[in-house]
């Protein structure tokens, strides 16, 4: 909790509520509504602006499908991360884990000659295992999740180097494995998109429409009250990490298939994208509460933003600026939403 507030009226309040106090109630209500729809408006504004500026390159069905296809991998890993943050923890291991999984799946197929489905299955199970380890460290050893998952993530990077010696696995990747990501098996829709919709759909139902989802939301909302309501808080938190781990594995597999190689650090940068998407999402439609649908919107904003920058030939450095700025804006909007909800 905020460190200084003896009672609500006092001066030693969190910055956010000090900030609120200066607003008239009407302005506050207006700001609340604005904050809730700001991300969606931002997304639409961006699409409209890019369409006007560059109708030929941007606003084509081909480009939209392309953006969505590209963004699918980020959406899957961000969807998993959403579960971890809904239970009130952070998972910083996902990017590193996805990189390792990409190497492992190609290695299993190319070197160990495992059948593709089996290789995928093993890697998904490994993803769940990493989630279990994270959950164990956080709930049983009581290590703060930022530190725990950063540590696990670093170890994972080490394992990836140990397995591949830093050399990408490129040669001998079978066409069938490439088709996993490149194929369009269902009505000509890119497989990545199909998988993404499927995964996010399941996650949405799980969180919003099942009894365990109610417990997941409860644990993130108030762990002490959850425990007294008879919920196994440790198990629910671990479940959040496990789902996050599985989604990271899935993203790692699809990325390896798309790149046609297993490369160390290939998926590391998904960490930042996923966080930006999740925090942008928490400011979407709800007051700073993390949810799957929001994450989807957040990921779309980032995807279209990058796409626009690419189309207009923006220099590489600006992509980093965009990435960093969007992360800060996202977290800012998210905490603004939360402070408005409290007032």
């Amino acid at each position: 909790m905020v460190s200084g507030a003896i009672d609500r009226e006092d001066d030693q309040m969190s910055d956010a509520s000090t900030y609120n106090r200066r607003l008239t109630p009407r302005a506050k209500a207006g700001l609340g509504i604005f904050a809730r729809y700001a991300t969606i408006l931002g997304l639409l504004a961006m699409i409209v602006a890019f369409s006007i500026l560059s109708p030929k390159a941007f606003s084509t069905l081909g480009n939209f499908t392309n953006v969505l296809n590209q963004a699918s991998l980020a959406m899957i890993i961000a969807g998993g991360l959403t579960l971890a943050v809904v239970v009130g923890e952070l998972d910083l291991s996902i990017g590193f884990a996805a990189s390792l999984h990409g190497i492992l799946v190609t290695g299993f197929i190319v070197h160990d000659k495992l059948p593709i489905p089996l290789a995928i299955l093993i890697v998904l199970v490994l993803g769940a295992l990493i989630g279990l380890v994270n959950g164990f460290i956080v709930t049983k050893m009581k290590v703060n999740s930022v530190i725990a998952t950063l540590g696990v993530g670093t170890i994972i990077t080490g394992l990836a180097f140990a397995y591949s010696a830093g050399v990408p696995i490129v040669a001998g990747v079978p066409e069938a494995f490439l088709q996993l990501s490149l194929g369009r098996w269902l009505f000509g829709i890119p497989n990545n998109i199909v998988v993404m919709v499927f995964v996010l759909g399941i996650l949405w139902v799980l969180v919003e429409r099942t009894s365990i989802g109610q417990e997941i939301q409860a644990v993130g909302g108030n762990p002490a009250a959850s425990r007294l309501a008879g919920i196994n808080v440790d198990r629910i938190k671990t479940l959040g990490f496990v789902i996050s781990g599985i989604c990271a594995a899935l993203t790692g597999i699809l990325l390896a298939s798309r790149l046609g190689s297993g490369t160390t650090s290939a998926a590391d940068s998904y960490l930042l994208t996923a966080f930006a998407a999740v925090f942008l999402g928490s400011a979407t439609l709800r007051d700073g509460e993390f949810h799957v649908l929001g994450t989807l919107v957040g990921a779309l904003i980032i995807a279209f933003g990058f796409n626009g920058l690419n189309i207009f030939g923006a220099p590489t450095f600006s992509q980093y600026v965009f990435q960093g700025a969007i992360l800060i804006i996202a977290v800012g909007l998210s905490s603004l939403g939360r402070s408005l909800a409290e007032s």
Binding site: I6, D7, D10, T24, V205, S211, G213, Q217, A218, A225
Partner: protein
């Protein structure tokens, strides 16, 4: 009146204030005036608008209509700073602590401080504050960390701060809800003292005895309207209740006849110990019985029920539940076995403040809300109909079942925590201060529900510091002092005075 009109205007006049939150009207044309040095009561049912009125005076909410005058001048209270500058101090319903700071730092929060060479001169401040702190009855050292202090001592710190600021009005929202009887008495003495020295007190409470004893005048709110104002002369309990409820009807809870010894024992506790608070407690609880645990705050009552509920582990001792050995490793195990707990602190231990009323009510009833045993899909229809049913049962006042529970008034939040477990109807329901902050009408209704469930076989364990609650509700009462059960009484021998007497640690039987 025109002839003898007072030359000095009242300190504070609130005229025809209205305030709506979205569609919900919290105040409609409410008025209030406070004369310097008086103790002014503000009463009304849960959700009547008392806290809203106070938050408006404190500059935390802003009225949609109406005016506020201080010393005869119309003012706008834009921020909490304005309210302080006008000479008002507030002790709100939901009090929070600032752990890691000293008593003195807490007293001086937000108060302009003397400084020397640009540094706060704590020594000089301590010299100034010391006599005021002693006057309000703070016994702890000013340099002590507030972490170990009780709720009562935190109240005193707040009062002390108000005096350091030289406030002319101190507003207290349900002060005795979390104080013991003895602490309440001390507070009353302090209030009398304040009043005698010219400081006005605005006093909000659901305990009418306190209002009758303490207040010079009383204003009554009902559904956001000012419906009555009493002076000392016209103040009776009956008139107050009528004004609050809006009719002469008072919930007259007639207790069903009950012969506890014939029912089966559901829980047997033997020598349960967790030092230092629980030191060898033994008792039996039967189906259909409402068993009260009386005693002072700090006697170890909450700690005892936490052991039974698996929230803490016992050092030694044993329990049997429905004839079988019972040693819950966690609340989850206790809930699975068939226990329920309404915890002492609703906001930190009971509620999910940003989540909806329906979410909060549904949480321990999820098995009833899924489509089938094998299909864990949530039925939103069942969830909101369960919520609506509970709302009606306990008259929970909320704009809708989808409103965040944090937006409800304090008493209505409490009803949500209780309603959740009434719906589940476990074998044993443990209630820790169940009606804290709940108005008289709803209190009678909650008691009636508890009796009804008990009549159907549920065993109930109630902790209460409210003087009349245990005699009103219980078949049998155990009194705890310093971690031990010092007295047992049942049926007609249960009385307020007997409980109080035993609470002070007299160990004879």
């Amino acid at each position: 009146m025109a002839m003898g009109a007072p030359v000095v205007p009242p300190f504070l006049v609130v005229r025809n204030i209205s305030k709506a939150f979205g569609g919900a009207k919290a105040l409609r044309n409410a008025s209030l005036d406070i004369i310097a040095g008086e103790v002014h009561g503000l009463v009304g049912a849960n959700g009547a608008g008392k806290s809203t009125m106070i938050r408006i005076l404190a500059g935390l909410n802003h009225p949609d209509q109406g005016s506020i005058e201080i010393d005869g001048h119309t003012v706008g209270i834009e921020t909490a700073h304005c309210a302080t500058a006008f000479g008002m101090s507030f002790i709100h319903q939901e009090l929070a602590f600032v752990p890691g700071m000293t008593v003195l730092q807490n007293i001086m929060l937000g108060v302009p401080k003397r400084s020397r060479f640009g540094l706060t001169d704590w020594a000089a401040i301590a010299r100034d504050v010391e006599p005021i702190a002693r006057r309000v009855g703070i016994t702890a050292s000013l340099n002590a960390n507030v972490k170990g202090l009780s709720t009562a001592e935190n109240w005193l710190i707040n009062i002390c701060r108000a005096l350091v600021r030289k406030s002319r009005l101190i507003v207290m929202d349900e002060p005795t809800a979390s104080l013991s009887a003895a602490e309440s008495e001390k507070l009353f003495a302090i209030i009398k003292d304040l009043s005698a020295s010219g400081v006005a007190v605005l006093y909000v409470s659901h305990r009418l005895d306190e209002i009758l004893k303490l207040c010079d005048r009383v204003s009554v709110l009902r559904d956001g309207n000012s419906v009555a104002e009493f002076t000392r002369a016209g103040l009776t309990r009956k008139a107050l209740v009528e004004a609050i409820v809006g009719s002469a009807h008072v919930g007259n809870d007639s207790r069903p006849e009950y012969a506890p010894q014939t029912h089966e024992i559901v829980l047997r506790v033997q020598n349960l110990t967790r030092l230092p608070k629980v030191r060898g407690v033994s008792f039996e609880l039967r189906h259909g019985e409402v068993l009260g645990i009386g005693g002072l705050v700090g006697a170890g009552r909450s700690e005892l029920v936490r052991l039974i509920y698996g929230a803490d582990r016992a050092d030694s001792g044993s329990m049997t539940f429905r004839g079988k050995p019972y040693a819950p490793k966690s609340p989850q195990a206790a809930v699975a076995a068939g226990l329920g707990l309404v915890p002492e602190e609703r906001r930190t231990e009971g509620l999910f403040l940003t989540k909806s009323v329906a979410f909060n009510l549904g949480l321990v009833n999820l098995d009833k809300l899924v489509l089938g045993r094998r299909v864990p899909l949530l039925s939103r229809k069942s969830q909101s109909s369960l919520a609506r049913e509970t709302m009606k049962l306990l008259s929970i006042k909320t704009a809708s079942v989808d409103s965040p529970v944090g937006r409800l008034s304090g008493g209505n939040q409490q009803k949500v925590v209780i309603g959740r477990w009434l719906q589940r109807a476990p074998h044993i329901l443990i209630l820790d201060e169940p009606t804290r902050g709940v108005d008289i009408g709803a209190r009678a209704e909650i008691h009636r529900q508890i009796r009804e469930l008990a009549a159907a076989g549920m065993a109930v364990l109630v902790i209460s510091s409210e003087p009349d609650e245990l005699p009103d509700l219980c078949d049998r009462v155990l009194v705890m002092a310093e971690g031990l059960i010092v007295r047992e009484m049942s049926g007609a021998s249960i009385s307020r005075s007997a409980i109080v007497e035993a609470s002070y640690g007299e160990r004879s039987h």
